[in-house]
Point group: C2
Chain length 389, copies 2
């Protein structure tokens, strides 16, 4: 059973490093916002992951942080939070706005009594609700409110030893999930049933949850860049795109594979091979010091040279950590260089009108060849389904 | 396998009924916003459920709606949406803000070229991101923007025959999930492993997903009103709070049960009984025409009379449909009467400092006694775990 987790001391260091980055922007207070489906920031600072309700970690320029939660989550938050001070605000209740007759929770004005705020930053800027923003702005009077995503990204962008271990463990369990599919997938199962095989195996093997709902996209559904499994039954002869990711102590990665159910004709094989080879090439290129844009340009150049340029939707890799997909993105327009201990999902998604697939594995950037967190089943291979029918 | 779903015609009627409700508020356009973890509104109008990205359904005062999605979801959305017109906007990309070099998606100004807007309503008001609101407000010039949650609630609050069938099917599958736990739970399993048993059974039996992550809260974790399963191992003699809910064609409900692992002493039994009896009482009281506040007052009165008043956190029932928990809420402060074909989760959550539990089942309000969607295992019973150890 998984016992990999982040130490209390590291949570304290995260706050200190963030306060140092805040000083560079003259921020008096930073609010890091999260929802149930985008838990990264609040989890990073507090280890708490909101459910139904939302949450914020408040980080002052100096001193201790506070975790702000909704009216039903106090006992839950106390059992999880690495931040001692927890404050309940009505603004973080469920979006359907339950009544709590007689409730006397503090307001934003109460929260800000002890801070002198002339400039406040919000991380999770692109999710932060307008309704909460309005209440906050009123309580702050004339203070400036700015997007502080860049401040937090600068702290989160390279991973600590503890984080790398969580990601390694997540990948180990993701391989258990993928293996459950490889061993049991067969024509006649629905996409949801196949996703269920991996989900069950990972929850039984130390994952705290899946990093995102497991994908299984078969035949005509295989060309969806973002998807969910359906009740469609898998058929012999078609491509099935599966993506499997476990979550361990807040950290998620993903393994993506195209599976061919039985016979694989030459045209499909060529298409799969270009994706496979593009992934191997990307892994080779991702070394500390390399400009991210150079990786994207070379890999996209390779795919175009092989005649599949019109099947590209996005760059060959994206950041990975608290979210299976997070900043930064390796694109032809990227302006950053790869740095040791950045973690990426190499993610080659190619699709045409009839079919598509994803080859995906997480890697840790080092000074040499990247450390691969998963590799199970990364080969163009058609499953022998005769025995399974 | 589940084949229960909402017909295309019903999606068209929802738009028409919403347009009628919009006329009462002089709304020229309504935007219904959803995220991955709060998919209700976009799913209700389009059958599409965003993942990673967010989405809006745009409903004009007259004429056809449009589904607004992010840059990676077009193929996915086309395969799911009941709304034909789909527009991609950069504002609905992932919150980590990937680059899409060379992308030329339409802007809000492009979207609003064909509408004359003096008043626009937003449903999902309490989630709608400030960053998107700012872009929208700029594109709309001086138009008034208002909270339109009440408009949409008036349309969604009673359920159609199709919706009731989805909810009945969700409850049938939830019982399969609960049964997997009742048959297999034993000391030594972790909370996550127990949650995995129900998740696997439901995904294998026609659920499209779980309605929310299955809960299993054991011993000292059992008093959490909102929770997630942990790696804690279940022990003999303790209360385990389990909550299980399947999702069918977008509709979710939930079954909550306290399980006692073996011997149950008299004090625990009395506590469980008051909750059980409060649920039976609530079900009896929930009839068409009854003021919701009267139900809450009587049930809370009963719990107080039995000496457990300080274990109450919220009212005895809440709405249920697209979300396992949605508007309206049955509280002592409620101002509405129950109406035929409203669906509620009867949800008796009681907790003290040491332990807690939830008795929960969905009911459909009728003119007589409510139709119960689930009842499996609703009895104060201590599991015989001797054979399982």
């Amino acid at each position: 059973m998984s016992q990999v987790f982040i130490a209390d001391k590291e949570f304290e260091e995260r706050i200190q490093r963030t306060q140092a980055a805040m000083a560079g922007q003259n921020l008096d207070v930073l609010l890091a916002f999260s929802t149930e489906s985008e838990p990264a920031l609040v989890r990073y600072y507090s280890d708490y992951w909101p459910s139904f309700e939302t949450a914020v970690v408040l980080i002052p320029a100096a001193g201790k942080p506070a975790l702000l939660i909704g009216p039903e989550s106090m006992v839950f938050a106390r059992s999880r939070s690495r931040i001692e001070r927890i404050i309940q605000l009505m603004d973080f209740r469920e979006s359907s706005q339950p009544n709590y007759p007689g409730s006397k929770l503090p307001t934003w004005a109460d929260v800000f009594k002890e801070y002198h705020v002339t400039k406040l930053g919000i991380a999770g800027w692109h999710m932060f609700p307008h309704a909460i923003y309005s209440n906050l702005a009123k309580a702050l009077g004339g203070a400036t409110i700015v997007d502080a995503d860049a401040v937090v990204r600068s702290v989160m962008i390279t991973k600590s030893k503890g984080e790398l271990n969580c990601l390694r463990e997540a990948a180990r369990i993701s391989e258990i999930g993928l293996k459950a599919i490889l061993d049991n997938i067969k024509p006649g199962l629905t996409e949801v049933q196949v996703a269920g095989l991996a989900t069950a195996a990972m929850l039984n093997s130390g994952a705290e949850a899946t990093g995102y709902p497991v994908w299984c996209c078969s035949g005509p559904n295989s060309n969806q860049a973002i998807s969910r499994p359906t009740h469609r039954r898998i058929q012999a002869g078609e491509i099935v795109q599966v993506c499997v990711g476990a979550k361990v102590s807040g950290y998620s990665n993903s393994i993506g594979r195209p599976l061919v159910m039985g016979h694989c004709d030459q045209e499909i094989r060529r298409f799969l091979e270009v994706g496979h080879d593009a992934e191997e090439m990307t892994i080779d290129l991702m070394r500390s010091g390399t400009p991210a844009a150079e990786v994207a340009k070379k890999v996209h150049g390779f795919i175009k040279d092989r005649g599949y340029g019109d099947t590209i939707l996005y760059g060959p890799a994206h950041g990975c950590g608290q979210m299976e997909c997070e900043y930064p993105f390796v694109e032809t327009s990227s302006t950053f260089n790869l740095v040791e201990n950045m973690v990426f999902q190499v993610d080659i998604f190619l699709a045409n009108r009839e079919m598509g697939f994803r080859w995906e594995d997480a890697v840790i950037v080092t000074n040499g060849k990247a450390e691969q967190l998963s590799s199970l089943g990364r080969e163009v291979k058609c499953l022998d389904i005769k025995e399974r029918i």
